[in-house]
């Protein structure tokens, strides 16, 4: 892991007694390798290593008895700060229902996360409604209905309606009538480069004016995370990210890539297939995980 690799770098240098800029360069090379291995985006790694290099040539490292540990501490602190600085709670509206729009690539975990989020919000005293606004994927409506049913949470019955915008507006009206205070809209998986589907997403966003647009991202996403985040953010202004499948061994570098690129916080983390497996995001834990 990175700790060990940095110790190896600094062991060779300790015999000389002093560190210099070239030594720090070696250490930064190890940090860069660790982050690329963790799927952090190439350009994000470049920028990050540059800013950390500045700090690493400071006295705190050069005069430390354990320079390797010092560098790790600097890197970890910078990472955690980058990923944790911002508001990471759902912003509820004063005029209910609060509308939460779940969006993202195919298979990222939107439907499962929608149900998990509904369950969590109900435990926190809210009255959520789930909206199956994916009219395309085979059995998508059934999937959300079953999950909502398992939790005893209201799932809007879209019937034969295939227009996603209509499904959402009718669901919102029904939620208001039933005095439900949160609307969680599950949408179809879509590619950020699919013009037609991105237009559909914009139409939903324009008509419903959601209070929270959550981008659901698979923790194992590679370099492409930057493209995805940028395009979705450009289309509908993302408010936050949910990182799913964190119960696996993916290092999750996409978390840093997305944060560094669109500056939006990771609000929740999916840690399993069961409906109670959603947790708040811990930037310091994520930083350690990315560094390996």
């Amino acid at each position: 892991n990175l700790s060990n690799r940095l110790e190896v770098v600094f062991k060779k240098l300790r015999s000389r007694g002093k560190l210099n800029e070239a030594d720090i360069k070696d250490a930064m090379r190890e940090v860069r390798l660790a982050m690329l291995e963790a799927d952090v985006n190439f350009k994000v790694v470049k920028d990050f290593v540059e800013r950390v290099s500045q700090r690493a040539v400071g006295q705190e490292v050069l005069e430390s008895l354990t320079p390797g540990q010092q560098v790790i501490k600097i890197v970890r602190d910078e990472l955690a700060e980058l990923m944790g600085g911002i508001q990471s709670k759902i912003q509820f509206s004063r005029n209910p229902p609060t509308i939460i729009l779940m969006t993202g690539l195919q298979g990222s975990g939107k439907t499962t996360t929608s149900a998990k989020l509904a369950g969590k919000l109900r435990e926190e005293g809210h009255r959520p409604m789930l909206v199956p606004a994916d009219p395309r994927r085979p059995a998508a409506v059934e999937q959300l209905s079953i999950l909502g049913g398992d939790l005893g949470i209201e799932v809007y019955q879209s019937g034969k309606e295939k227009n996603a915008v209509k499904i959402c507006t009718k669901a919102r009206d029904q939620a208001s009538r039933q005095n439900l205070d949160v609307l969680i809209i599950d949408t179809a998986g879509r590619l950020h480069v699919d013009e037609e589907l991105m237009k559909e997403l914009q139409a939903i966003n324009d008509k419903l004016k959601p209070h929270e647009n959550l981008l659901v991202v698979d923790a194992m996403t590679g370099q492409d995370a930057v493209n995805v985040a940028q395009q979705f953010n450009q289309a509908i202004r993302v408010d936050g990210v949910v990182l799913t499948k964190m119960d696996g061994d993916a290092r999750g570098g996409a978390a840093l890539s997305i944060n560094a690129t669109i500056g939006k916080p990771i609000k929740f983390v999916g840690v399993g297939e069961k409906l109670d497996q959603i947790e708040p995001f811990h930037p310091d834990r994520m930083a350690s995980r990315i560094l390996g």
Binding site: L33, L36, E37, A38, D39, N41, F42, L105, Q106, G107, S108, G109, R136, R137, P138, A139, A140, E142, Q143, I146, L147, D150, L191, H192, V193, D218, M220, T221, G222, Q223, D224, N227, V228, K245, D247, G248, D249, A250, R251, G253, A254, E273
Partner: protein, 278 residues
């Protein structure tokens, strides 16, 4: 875009960036670049465009021996097990594959082996209907091995050529779920000589270096015989398969390029390598 550029460290650095950004990973990129530097000096390469051709040649070399067709001949029935982590496109790929096999004159049965996830069976039923394949399902929450057993018996009694077994998505780190797959494979092998004829690992092209870990673990547990790489219609290049294919000697057989029933293609190394640099 490379025309007129001089071959120097900056150019090579830019090319490395293209490869790493395509998810090829640092070790594989480094290996390819060493290979290219050696060839460039051996062949006295001077032009920047020729460097890129060397890179493509080097990557193509690693991939071309490992493109292979799906093995669906000669089984009684032929059995294909489809597995992989959650959400990669297993069920959709099965629907596309069933349609393709039907188009080639095969009678196909789909085994609804995901007895866990909400509406997994309903989802596969839609695909069976679209593909013109039969479907065998058990009760929700039941034993997937029982479903595959029933499917094999049904294939024999209905004279079907191929059984494709859908399985629930599972992270390779979950030991008990990997054991469930091993049991399914044993049941298949016991019922049909030489089966499963294909153990197809589905990987998502948007996945980064974790795909190597996925491939290693699934291969070690089940003996993967082929890879299907999905979602290549996005902007992700799927470069991680270069490491997987060379490190584990696994054939790349199919690619998914969309969500419709005919969005399945055999893997073409030359096209794949071209796309890496577009």
């Amino acid at each position: 875009v490379l025309r007129g550029r001089v071959i120097n460290d900056e150019l090579l650095g830019d090319l490395e960036e293209v490869m790493i950004t395509a998810d090829m990973g640092v070790p594989t990129t480094t290996r390819i670049m060493e290979d290219v530097r050696r060839k460039a000096s051996e062949r006295s390469i001077r032009e920047a465009e020729d460097i890129i051709d060397l890179i493509k040649e080097s990557i193509g070399e690693s991939l071309k021996d490992l493109a292979a067709p799906l093995n669906v001949e000669g089984g009684d029935p032929a059995v294909i097990m489809v597995l992989g982590v959650n959400g990669v496109g297993k069920t959709t790929t099965i629907g596309k594959l069933a349609y393709n096999l039907r188009d080639n004159g095969k009678k196909v049965i789909l085994a609804a082996g995901d007895t866990f996830r909400a509406a997994a069976i309903e989802q596969l039923e839609v695909w069976a209907d679209r593909a013109g394949a039969d479907i065998i399902k058990g009760r929700g929450g039941g034993d997937p091995s029982a479903v595959i057993y029933d499917s094999i018996q049904a294939a024999r009694s209905r004279n079907c050529d191929v059984v494709i077994a859908d399985t629930a998505g599972r992270l390779h780190t979950k030991v008990n779920l990997m054991e469930e797959l091993k049991k399914m494979k044993r049941v298949i092998n016991r019922e049909v000589k030489g089966a499963p004829h294909e153990v197809l690992l589905v990987l998502d092209a948007t996945t980064g270096q974790n795909a190597v870990s996925q491939a290693r673990v699934f291969h070690e547990a089940l003996g993967v015989t082929g890879i299907a790489l999905t979602k290549l219609d996005g902007t992700a290049k799927g470069g991680v398969v270069v490491s997987i294919v060379t490190e584990l000697d696994l054939p790349l057989k199919l690619i998914g390029i969309g969500e419709k029933i005919d969005d399945l293609r055999p893997f073409d190394p030359a096209l794949f390598v071209e796309a890496l640099f577009q």
